[in-house]
């Protein structure tokens, strides 16, 4: 990085808090949007097959609409908001979300053995989705406000850990292990980039590892079952092992080039469970083979790379940490979902970003992407990079 050049960029903007419209459009990270659109369109192809083509076309069109709304939200977040707005309202947003989580626990509606939704008028609000964004912003704000030279010790981390653990407790209680793990991953990555001392990080990892057996006892039977099943799916091939076995068969049988569009027997003949939501990657891998699977992984990797570049160019800690959180929200879901489909991780009900059918996760992700673009837009070092 050339410091003088960056200083020049800073001066040339004159510290303006807001940009003109032409400037906003010029500074918008179009390559990020392009990668997103590519991935989303790639997803449409897979989803069309996963819902069974003509038979359930309405699902496909709903996803097209949901994705369009998502893009709209992303553009809104990125282009309309002023530079400081997210930092200003982050705590309020966080506490609002936490309250909603508490309300959900008391009066939320139950589905599939979990209490996750709040009936708001005509639609169901999954309050944990709000918390994902809220936690990112709140943590970023905290470390921004409490900036400190040198690395962060236990004393500095008490409040952030509490901020992470509170919503996690609610969400584990729902129970929704996938989202809880996601929050932990996102939170931890923010803490790491914010400057946690290596000693503390190391201790933390040890403590977490040691408390595994304790955590095990706190799990629901079905959660334990999923973890046992992961390691030996053949123990219960028709019960909890069924998902993993069928998913592995689907992926494996795809081979190098796949069975072709709409031609995957595992996908089309209902052997794959949840094939348009959590297990959509199996459909892709079966019908498009190794080439298709790797293509999607490369698209994701490019997106993540682009996002990390934005982080690197952020003006301040808040921007940097927001981008890190948003990127991790996205990446952890990719890794956990694909790992689950490939039988490497337990089945934890995490959708595949941008591809899986479903509105709420799409909206949350696009808000995160909007935040990414927003940070990029206001970056004073913008000129240096793509």
């Amino acid at each position: 990085m050339n410091e003088s050049e960056s200083g020049h960029a800073w001066l040339s903007l004159g510290g303006t808090a807001s940009l003109g419209w032409t400037e906003r459009l010029r500074r918008f990270p179009w390559s990020l949007l392009l990668l997103l659109l590519l991935t989303i369109f790639f997803g449409f192809g897979v989803l069309y097959s996963a819902v069974g083509g003509e038979n359930n076309l309405w699902l496909f069109w709903r996803q097209v609409i949901q994705s369009s709304i998502g893009i709209g939200i992303m553009l809104t977040v990125a282009l309309l908001a002023g530079e400081k707005i997210f930092r200003r309202f982050s705590y309020m947003f966080y506490f609002g979300s936490l309250t909603l989580l508490a309300v959900t626990m008391i009066m939320g509606s139950v589905g599939m053995g979990a209490r996750r939704w709040l009936e708001v008028g005509f639609f169901r609000l999954q309050t944990s989705e709000l918390m994902k964004v809220a936690l990112i912003l709140a943590l970023a704000r905290y470390f921004h406000d409490h900036a400190k030279a040198g690395s962060l010790g236990w004393r500095d981390l008490g409040v952030p850990f509490l901020m992470i653990l509170c919503p996690m407790a609610f969400i584990i209680k729902q129970p929704d292990l996938g989202t809880a793990v996601l929050l932990a991953g996102v939170g931890l990555s923010i803490v790491v980039v914010a400057g946690i001392s290596w000693k503390v990080l190391f201790t933390l990892v040890i403590v977490l590892g040691a408390s595994m057996p304790l955590a095990w006892n706190g799990l629901h039977t079905y959660q334990k079952q999923r973890i046992i099943t992961l390691f030996s799916p053949e123990r219960d091939p028709l019960g909890s092992g069924y998902h993993i076995i069928q998913s592995k068969i689907a992926v494996g049988s795809g081979g190098v080039t796949g069975k072709g569009f709409m031609a995957g027997s595992q996908s089309q003949l209902d052997f794959l469970p949840e094939r348009h939501t959590d297990f959509i990657f199996s459909v892709l891998a079966e019908e498009w083979g190794f080439l298709g699977g790797v293509t999607l992984l490369v698209l994701y990797a490019l997106l993540i790379l682009r996002a990390l570049l934005i982080a690197e160019m952020a003006n301040d800690r808040f921007g940097l940490l927001t981008v890190v959180g948003a990127t991790m929200l996205f990446s952890v879901q990719v890794v956990v979902n694909v790992g689950m489909v490939l039988g490497l991780l337990p089945v934890v009900g995490v959708p595949l970003p941008l591809i899986s059918y479903g509105g709420s996760s799409m909206v949350t992700l696009m808000i995160a992407m909007g935040l990414l673009a927003h940070v990029s837009l206001y970056s004073r070092q913008h000129g240096r990079s793509v």
Binding site: M1, E3, A147, A149, S189, V192, V193, G195, Q246, K248, I249, A250, V251, G252, S253, G254, G255, V256, S265, Q266, L269, D270, F271, A285, E286, G289, F290, G293, V294, L297, Y300, A301, I304, L305, L308, A311, E312, R317, L320, V324, M328, S331, V335, V338, G339, L342, G343, L344
Partner: protein
């Protein structure tokens, strides 16, 4: 200062970002590697698993071969058996449906309850069998109303049908569930659940011919087993039809002639060994095995002391009685130990080693030669002849005429009968052969056992001049050479003498079987026999005290062939506990022969 802080922060943040990015990169590499492992390295393996998932093989049953008599009258057919099934997911309320259905078919409250339970256990798109073996009334009643019952379907499957019920049941046999023994014996066949297999008769013997080869339907199925489409069909090969040597008219006549009696009739073409009729009584209805028995019915059938499930023609073993004298006579002539003109005195008994061997006629026959001895069935004559021949010569002759071993008929589980010998006795009783035993063997009593089929084959051998054919239940193709078991070269002169005696049995006023004389002046050669069931008590005078218990009465036997000069039919009859061969068995043979000659004539 501020810049320094920012600078330091930036440097640190970049390092930390690198760590996060590195972690993610590692994660992606693991995912890519796993994808490579599953898809590229183990792809073939998983492809097989996916195919196994996808394809369901459904057997298509091959129609079993039908069975005809020698004139192509169907004795065994496959008839459609209708069952009514319902696909619950199309039917709406099953309870209502069954209620309405019970107006048209016999469906009890109990059965409905059971069906509803079953419906809860199986997937709702799979057809549920409501009732099988529908009557024609039920079928037509449902057929016209089928549109009133959504989801209901009439399905037909092919079941074995024996149009004449019990007639020829022992030849045809019946079907049943394969036993372990069947599975072992027919190891080349893969049995499926619900598969039936021949349990007796030709159904059993020709199982592999009749069965054909099942076809395969390859269906694509989805995860819950619903059929999506047909992928490939390998059509079944139907079983071969059998054309039996049986003449149905003759079979029917023989069956009717036996009436309520227990026993067996075998009629055979003496020139080929083809069996024209084979009756065993009492009989059973093979259709019952398809429809199923109640426990009581099965008990009654399987424990009946008259053993209706056994084919007595090849599984019933009886002492041949005087019919065996044919063998002894031929042995005497062949060995030269009997001069045809020789006169033997019969005084009613023969004294041997201080033991009296009685003739059936207590006053004796006076002086008799061979022909007279055969005509009147004089026991003393044959005691003496047997004594002179010795057991070894008798045994040899019996084997030459197909006795004492299986005939090789096209039926399973044939019994061999028994021709006793010194070696046999030593082995069985650890005792030597007594001369007295030779004497009673000479009149077909004692240890000798034969099946009615063996006796038919024996008299056929006499009829054709010495060839023992393998009795065949399949009609010979034109030009097909019959199987020969033993080919003897009996002297024409000896045979002529024997025939004269056997003819007199039927046609001489002193003969024992006048009741076998056919209509229309056809000449018959025959021999009666009476085989002892229990040793009768005798008074000092020799008068037999006949038991009044029917089960202790003697078995009546008769063997014959006709016409005398150009034999076309050989018959053996045994009537269990029938008393005398001449009175109980000969009339049965006469009816069979009469039927034969009215149908075919007696000419060449």
């Amino acid at each position: 200062m501020l810049d320094d802080d920012r600078e330091q922060f930036r440097g640190d943040a970049r390092r930390r970002l690198l760590l996060v990015g590195g972690c993610l990169g590692a994660g992606f590499l693991v995912l890519g590697g796993r994808l490579f492992h599953l898809q590229v390295m183990r792809g073939g393996e998983y492809r097989t698993l996916a195919e196994d998932n996808r394809i369901s093989l459904k057997p298509i049953f091959a129609p079993r071969g039908r069975i005809f008599d020698r004139e192509n009258r169907a004795l065994v057919e496959n008839s459609p058996d209708f069952e009514v099934v319902v696909v619950p997911e199309l039917a709406g309320s099953l309870r209502m449906l069954f209620k309405r259905l019970s107006r048209h078919i016999d469906l009890s409250e109990e059965e409905i309850k059971h069906l509803l339970q079953q419906a809860r256990r199986q997937r709702s798109f799979l057809p549920l069998r409501v009732k099988s073996h529908l009557s024609w009334e039920e079928v037509s009643s449902i057929e016209v109303r089928i549109h009133e019952f959504p989801g209901l379907d009439l399905q037909s499957q092919s079941v074995r049908y024996y149009p004449y019920d019990a007639l020829a049941c022992h030849i045809l046999g019946y079907l049943g569930e394969p036993s372990d023994g069947d599975r072992k014996r027919l190891s080349r066949i893969t049995f499926r659940s619900g598969d039936l297999v021949g349990k007796s008769g030709v159904e059993q013997h020709f199982e592999e011919l009749l069965r054909g080869r099942e076809g395969v339907l390859e269906m694509e199925v989805n995860a819950v087993g619903r059929h999506v489409r047909e992928l490939h069909r390998n059509p079944p090969e139907s079983g071969e039809d059998l054309r039996l040597s049986i003449d149905f008219d003759l079979q029917k006549e023989a069956q009717e002639a036996m009436g309520e009696e227990t026993g067996s009739v075998v009629a055979m073409d003496p020139n080929t060994g083809e069996i024209l009729a084979m009756v065993s009584t009492p009989s059973y209805n093979p259709n019952q095995f398809i429809r199923g028995f109640t426990h009581a019915q099965w008990q009654a059938l399987s424990t009946d002391p008259d053993r209706p499930l056994i084919n007595k023609a090849h599984q019933g073993q009886y002492p041949p009685g005087s019919t065996f004298k044919i063998v002894v006579a031929l042995a005497g002539l062949a060995t030269g130990k009997l001069d045809p003109k020789e006169q033997v005195h019969c005084g009613g008994f023969l004294l041997k080693e201080e033991q009296r061997f009685y003739c059936w006629r207590r006053h004796g026959h006076g002086s008799v030669n061979l022909i007279q001895a055969l005509t009147q069935s004089c026991d003393v004559f044959f005691y003496k002849l047997a004594e002179r021949l010795g057991i070894d010569a008798i045994e040899r002759q019996a084997h030459k005429m197909g006795l004492g071993g299986v005939t090789g008929v096209d039926l399973d589980s044939e019994r061999a009968g028994l021709i006793p010998s010194r070696a046999w006795k030593r082995k069985m009783f650890k005792a030597s052969w007594y001369p007295g035993e030779t004497l009673i063997t000479g009149i077909g009593q004692g240890y000798v056992l034969t099946t009615p089929l063996q006796l038919a084959s024996m008299i056929a051998t006499v009829a054709n001049g010495g060839t023992v054919y393998r009795p065949s239940l399949l009609k010979l193709e034109p030009g097909q050479v019959p199987d020969v078991m033993v080919r003897n070269h009996f002297s024409a002169h000896h045979l002529e003498l024997l025939r004269q005696g056997l003819e007199a049995v039927v046609h001489d006023p002193t003969g024992t079987a006048a009741k076998a004389r056919p209509e229309g002046g056809i000449r018959v050669a025959g021999k009666t026999g009476t085989s002892q069931v229990a040793r009768h008590r005798r008074e000092k005078s020799g008068q037999i005290i006949k038991s009044t218990n029917e089960k202790l009465q003697d078995h009546a036997l008769f063997v014959c062939y006709a016409p005398l000069d150009r034999p076309k039919i050989a018959v053996s009859v045994i009537v269990e506990h029938g008393g005398h061969g001449g009175s109980a068995a000969a009339p049965v043979a006469k009816r069979v022969m009469d039927r034969y000659f009215t149908k075919y004539g007696s000419g060449a």
